[in-house]
Symmetry: C2
């Protein structure tokens, strides 16, 4: 089994980084091959170019590597804070450049992008781990929780990933050490469940 | 009267660019001072740094300039395609780095970011112009149109901008020249209405 673990947070001591490390360590302990990427640390360039827009191909080595690993993975983990109802720009750029046609989805022959594409990542399980400083009720009623729809509908299900899970940890800004340690344990449980799902067990 | 006009599209011949040029030209013809920025052309760096996260200040000259213009503007125009229910990464980065506390919003003294902030852009009018290849019904029912909530709720109203307007032009991929020319005229009407709104007239 293989997993891509994608992290987007600029601060090396962040809770997001702690989640990233716990996810990678848990996967390794379960003998899962891990493609772990701290996008900031790897200086990933998030800007889709005019050439990529046209040809739908990239000459960026990092993009090519990430695409290969994405296709090769059974489980995909995305870890990031909720900034303005979106991932940080560096992860938005990963989505723009890596999750592309014809690898992740494909339009029917001759279609210029108007129709409904076929998702091509149907064999994968998608997990999104978010951090937030907004109360759940306020996020859902005032802001409509755009990240839920972006990840579940616009990205994962669009690409054919019907098995997915998202968890938001909140409120980070005034959390205690005990809470954060408990959240790390919860993240470990999520990883174990994901592996079981891919093995055909669990939910 | 002054206006910031922010464009995010990698292809210089794009319809988004045509919208950008028409908006700037219409504003100029109405004697509005225009701060127009093609983010790709200006090589804007969309990555919020750990230092900016910590200090909430930036040493990036372009960020400092954009912030000053944002505060100085009566009307704000954002022009971009709908990519995965989000703006392109370069504009997500503008939002991350330019629309920041304490300029655009501010938490009460002593608040670590947990409470509800005060929006500080209350005197401005916000306009969002999008392009899309997805039918309106599908966008709204399948994807929940995340851009509507991101722009109107998470960004503009969060910063105190209660007067705003958003228009999505679709379907771009199979549009005719006549349609696109008509869309440009519609964009011009939107600009004129925005100016009237700022003058106290219009809707």
């Amino acid at each position: 089994m293989k997993a891509s673990v994608i992290l987007a947070h600029p601060y090396q001591q962040s809770l997001n980084h702690a989640f990233f490390h716990r996810i990678c360590a848990t996967l390794c302990a379960k003998s899962v091959t891990v493609f772990g990427h701290d996008l900031y640390k790897e200086n990933f360039n998030p800007l889709l170019t005019a050439e990529e827009l046209e040809k739908k191909k990239s000459s960026d080595k990092l993009v090519i590597q990430y695409v290969g690993e994405l296709l090769d993975s059974n489980v995909l983990f995305f870890i990031h804070p909720n900034w303005w109802g979106q991932p940080p720009a560096i992860l938005t750029g990963y989505i723009n450049r890596v999750i592309r046609a014809p690898y992740a989805f494909e339009f029917p022959p001759g279609d210029k992008g108007v129709g409904i594409p076929t998702g091509k990542l149907t064999d994968k399980y998608g997990v999104v781990i978010n951090t937030s400083n907004t109360e759940k009720t306020r996020e859902e009623t005032v802001f409509n929780d755009p990240l839920e729809h972006i990840w579940m509908k616009c990205i994962l299900e669009y690409c054919g990933i019907s098995k997915h899970y998202r968890k938001t940890f909140r409120i980070v800004a005034n959390s205690t050490l005990e809470e954060r340690l408990q959240w790390l344990d919860e993240v470990e449980d999520i990883v174990v469940n994901s592996i079981n799902c891919c093995d055909g067990g669990g939910v």
